[in-house]
């Protein structure tokens, strides 16, 4: 009896020791997980700070003409007629005629348009130096001293490069005047075309592979393997495919010439890019949709079949609604990939400098990533600022797209 107790306590002791060790190991792993999350957050924060650092901050602006000398009153208080008078007085008649030919008589233009002309053509503000956001916040005195010393004629102002004007105006060769309007519209068109092609095709293929082709012959296995592999093919390859097929071979169709549309002269159009992007995201979409359809419990299918439903009725009324949240999640991922893709667009031939809005699927275009890439390769410092602002636009539109898709998904899953 005594032996039994002593051996039991000995066991207890070793068990306790073992237990302490187990708890210790658990704590170590927990710390590792915390650390990895923390590192991810730090990276993300660094990225955002880095971008914001460029997109906002003090700038030293030199005007070619001081706006206060243009009229008796400050520029903002002038009427349309007075602005038009200033323009006629200050600009050469040739230039005025060019402007009027492009956008109509001065007297018929709105205040905003006239004001823009005055700033662009007469005042011609030039950013001679821009300061990062962190320096602007923490060492404003140093910035002020620097400006006073090196740019005595310049005025210091705090500028958000990301502003309403930046979104409203098209590309320009002067960074102070450039905007992302064309690129944003191009990206939106591109995504719409891509999704309207890729979504039905992808979901259709997933339905076929999951519901109709189960366990059949080798052909289905080959298709499946190929789709899985295609998801990992580098995007530039898709770009080259798009160039060869949509731009070159099908150029008559993708330039709109076949449909009698006066658009681009070549196939380097939105529709070519959209088709290429659709090809690019199709494998991702199919795999995600398949995953979602596979997750539909078999009991639902059996219940429908048991009532005398045909295969299509079963798929349409039960499998698809059940799988829809998952399919939409996959679509979100695919859109996110498509909106940030640059390489295939460069190959397919997005324009790097274009000022006219896209008018339809058969027009030339540019997209946000192209614009950003283009600006970051320019030598002037201020292009870096607008590139940062454009990156913010891209991130914000990406996040809002995702938010819309998540809302959609939640509505689908809530519908009982």
């Amino acid at each position: 009896m005594k032996d039994f107790i002593s051996s039991a306590t000995q066991d207890d002791q070793s068990f306790e020791k073992f237990l302490r060790r187990r708890h210790k190991i658990a704590k170590v792993w927990q710390a590792v997980f915390y650390a990895s999350t923390l590192i991810a957050i730090v990276f993300l924060a660094t990225l955002l700070v880095n971008i914001s650092n460029r997109a906002f901050g003090y700038v030293a602006v030199e005007n070619r003409v001081d706006p206060d000398t243009l009229a008796a009153r400050p520029l903002d208080d002038l009427t349309e007629e007075e602005l038009a008078a200033v323009i006629r007085e200050r600009l050469r008649p040739n230039r005025v005629r060019t402007i009027e030919r492009d956008s109509g008589a001065l007297e018929q233009q709105t205040w905003d348009q006239l004001y823009a002309i005055v700033i662009e053509e007469i005042v011609q503000p030039k950013v001679v130096k821009s300061y990062p956001l962190l320096e602007s916040i923490f060492f404003p005195e140093r910035v002020r001293l620097d400006v006073a010393e090196n740019y005595p004629k310049a005025e210091l102002e705090f500028r958000s490069w990301l502003n309403a004007r930046f979104l409203r105006v098209p590309m320009s060769s002067r960074p102070e005047l450039a905007g992302v309007r064309t690129a944003v519209l191009g990206s939106i068109y591109l995504i719409l075309i891509t999704i309207s092609i890729a979504f039905p095709l992808g979901v259709g293929a997933a339905i076929y592979l999951e519901e109709y082709a189960i366990g059949e012959n080798r052909i289905n296995r080959i298709i499946q393997t190929n789709i899985d592999n295609l998801a990992g093919v580098p995007s530039i390859i898709y770009g080259i495919l798009g160039l060869a097929v949509f731009v070159r071979t099908l150029g008559t169709f993708t330039s709109g010439a076949y449909f009698g549309i006066e658009g681009a002269s070549t196939g380097r159009t939105l529709i070519s890019a959209g088709l290429t992007m659709a090809l690019l995201i199709l494998p991702i979409l199919i795999i995600n949709a398949q995953e979602a359809i596979r997750a539909v419990p078999n009991s639902i299918r059996q219940a429908a079949y048991g009532l005398g439903a045909t295969k299509w009725q079963t798929v349409w009324y039960h499998v698809l609604p059940y799988a829809m949240p998952g399919i939409l999640t996959g679509t979100i991922l695919a859109i996110s990939r498509a909106i940030g893709e640059t390489a295939p667009l460069i190959v397919v031939g997005a324009s790097t400098f274009i000022v006219s809005d896209p008018t339809g699927p058969f027009s030339n275009f540019t997209a946000l990533p192209i614009q950003i890439y283009n600006w970051t390769t320019r030598p002037q410092d201020a292009f870096r600022n607008i590139a940062a602002a454009a990156i913010l636009v891209l991130l914000i539109s990406l996040l809002s797209l995702n938010a819309i898709a998540i809302l959609l998904r939640n509505r689908f899953s809530k519908r009982i």
Partner: protein, 263 residues
């Protein structure tokens, strides 16, 4: 398929003749001959893996969805083999409904669960009336009449199973197959389903697979006892009135099983 007028001598609802079912190379069921009487409850009992469910699913061609499954022999329904090439499995499943082991209502409203089957089969009458009528005959109306728009998944397990029965009734079948309908339910819900089956047997033919021998004894008119042969193929040992099977089994294996010596 033409529905032929019933012959007076012909009281069977559905009949299996020399039924052999294979999954790939494996023979799951061998030489089953089983005649199901109209408007009666027939129970199929037997140990796990003896092919009860396989036979049941063969009656409305639900085995079609299982890969490599193959059916030999005949299943006669209205004097027609339902495995003939000119027979549409969709129509067979409408006439021969099914209730599954686990309650599997659609993730939709109660109303929609009942109405859907009728709608896809082209029902043109008053849907509200049909839903009420079927829910009443499934003894569920009083419990859910105020919550028809609520999700079917909010019901209890027993209610869900009765909803599944109502759903099957809504397409006006002749035969209802039940694959262990009470195995996921508590005793009270089980009793309710059994009462319901008794009620329904006035208008429908019911075939029920069950593991629960008391249930077979209580609720059925006829009982078929299945077991496994040496090669693990399911065979039918004995078929007779429930009373006879449980009181005077003719086969030793049946007696062993129902007395609990083998299970």
């Amino acid at each position: 398929m033409d529905v032929q007028p019933m012959n007076e001598n012909n009281h069977y609802a559905i009949e299996a003749r020399n039924l052999n079912i294979y999954y790939g190379n494996f023979q799951a069921v061998r030489d089953v001959n089983l005649t199901i009487q109209r408007n009666k409850i027939t129970a199929i009992i037997g140990p796990s893996g003896c092919g009860k469910s396989t036979v049941l699913r063969a009656f409305n061609r639900m085995n079609d969805f299982i890969l490599n499954s193959r059916v030999e022999g005949e299943i006669l329904y209205h004097d027609k083999n339902i495995y003939d090439p000119d027979v549409d499995a969709v129509q067979i499943r409408r006439m021969i409904g099914m209730v599954f082991q686990k309650p599997n209502p659609f993730p939709k409203s109660i109303y929609e669960n009942v109405a859907w089957g009728a709608r896809i089969n082209g029902y043109r009458g008053n849907m509200d009336e049909l839903v009420e009528e079927t829910l009443r005959s499934a003894a569920l109306w009083d419990e859910v009449k105020d919550d028809l728009k609520k999700s079917a998944l909010a019901l209890s397990g027993g209610q869900q199973q009765r909803l599944c029965i109502a759903r099957a009734l809504a397409v006006k079948p002749e035969i209802i197959l039940m694959d262990e309908p009470c195995s996921a339910l508590d005793p009270i819900a089980t009793l309710k389903i059994e009462d319901l089956m008794r009620e329904l047997s006035h208008n429908y033919t019911i075939i029920i697979v069950t593991h629960n021998m008391q249930q077979a004894a209580r609720a059925s008119d006829f009982t078929a006892f299945f077991t496994m042969a040496e090669d693990r193929a399911g065979i039918m040992v004995e078929f007779g009135s429930t009373n006879q099977i449980f009181t005077r089994p003719r086969d030793q294996r049946t007696e062993d099983y129902i007395t609990g010596r083998f299970g």
